[in-house]
Symmetry: C2
Subunit: 245 residues, 2 copies
DNA sequence: TTGCCGCCTTGATGCAGATCAAGGCGCGAA
DNA sequence: TTCGCGCCTTGATCTGCATCAAGGCGGCAA
């Protein structure tokens, strides 16, 4: 998982390590280099809409974007959260099935779809790497299904916080040492509610309840401090009886 | 989508058309032929367990299997339903994250994992085909997230029935002509409840309600007749205002 | 034929989370 | 400094689904 360290240039454009660095050769890298470009989408901006055809695949360099669906009557469910190094787009497919929006300012590293697909066609390494990434996304989606189908509001909020902590830990490479953890939430309460399949009021009440129980502190609404991760963990156990890896 | 028609032998072993038929060459087919074997798992049997390491990848030839997670306290959520032509396993990954069980007697076409992965490594076609299949699964999982997060019990049951109808239609190649449709449910009420994130009682009551409303008939508990699909459809609309494709 | 056992249905009641409603707080603009 | 506007919190009430409980039905074995 420290592919990131393999080539320092990967930090600039995560796709280079996540999709291809592991075993790609220099030709592939050179081609990718030639077809990429950067764009920044302002907070609240639409990155893509369901049904729309995309002529770029991209990778999140910085910021936070959401993948969601809105029903005719306004009900909305988030189905994906895109953070740096996550991939956007469906190689081999021109259209998306969900809306993608910028939750904060988002910088993307984009690749022309046709050129990128040509690389996939010729290189088993790239296709294989994308397959692995997609399988990971599928696991995330399925764990999310369990959360939405069976967890209580309190458990959902705890899982959300833990997933952010875990995500941050793998970003920085830090092992989850004990001691207080500080989180800057990239999402508003409304977005968190859409993430968790709850209403904004219930979400807010759960944050309040966790604070009253001493499990978290909330210096500001968007800043969460977890004095001791272990206190939060026990409620997030799965069938193995252990906290999520 | 009529890859199935490309080679009749595909019917015998769906992986041949779903994973590789589209553009594979004869060498790849020959290798697959050499590493496959068939097994039948009886109804209720365990096909794989979360965390277990698998040395086969397989494809469902007949029957119905479920992908699910059970929490420590017994709460259970289904996250995948495997019907003929669906693929089991995670190329490049030795272990599963979810339990897979036979909902009916299930016949699998299995491939030795190492040999299959060797094919993936050498053939962009196979890797690309698997990527497409996995992206499709991801879309299904995300639509399922919307169902679990935001739909009412009644809407969930309707979606479930429509997804079976749609699935059956693509299997038989029949367009969704109007007129009555008959469905044999491959799942018990309890499994349907786990699929939909509901209790068995609520699920049963919703079937009763749909029957009282004249939207379905239930000659037996496992047999559903839908007199007119269009009556069922309107409640299953998404943001585009149209029924699911 | 009878009785058992799984599976399904139905009824009564309870409760978690939705809904409706009313502020509070912080921040940027005038 | 004050106003206005997002965003968040809190309270009161409602309700859809869960829970608890009791049969019904159909298939299979003795």
């Amino acid at each position: 998982m420290n592919l990131r360290l393999a080539r320092t240039s990967c930090i600039e454009c995560p796709i280079r390590h996540r999709a291809v660095c592991a075993e790609c050769d220099d030709t592939e890298l050179a081609v990718l280099e030639g077809i990429k470009s950067y764009v920044t989408v302002p907070k609240g901006g639409r990155i893509a809409e369901a049904g729309e055809s995309l002529d770029h695949l991209s990778s999140v360099v910085s910021g936070c974007a959401t993948v969601s669906k809105t029903l005719a009557d306004g009900r909305r469910q988030m189905v994906g959260l895109l953070l740096p190094s996550d991939f956007i787009g469906r190689p081999g497919r021109a259209t998306l099935s969900f809306d993608i929006e910028a939750a904060t300012d988002v910088t993307l590293c984009r690749f022309q779809r046709r050129a990128f697909e040509a690389i996939i066609r010729s290189s088993p390494n790239v296709a294989r790497r994308l397959l692995t990434m997609t399988l990971d996304e599928l696991d995330v989606a399925r764990d999310w299904q369990v959360l939405l189908g069976r967890l209580t509001a309190r458990e959902r909020v705890i899982h959300f916080l833990l997933s952010l902590v875990r995500r941050e830990a793998t970003e920085t490479g830090a092992a989850h040492r004990s001691g207080p953890v500080r989180l800057e939430l990239p999402l508003s309460r409304e977005m968190i509610a859409d993430y968790l399949g709850l209403t904004i009021e219930t979400t807010s009440r759960q944050f309040t309840a966790l604070r009253k129980d001493g499990l978290i502190e909330t210096p500001t609404a968007r800043t969460i401090v977890v004095p001791d991760l272990l206190n939060l963990m026990p409620e997030a156990m799965d069938e193995d009886g252990g906290p999520i890896a």
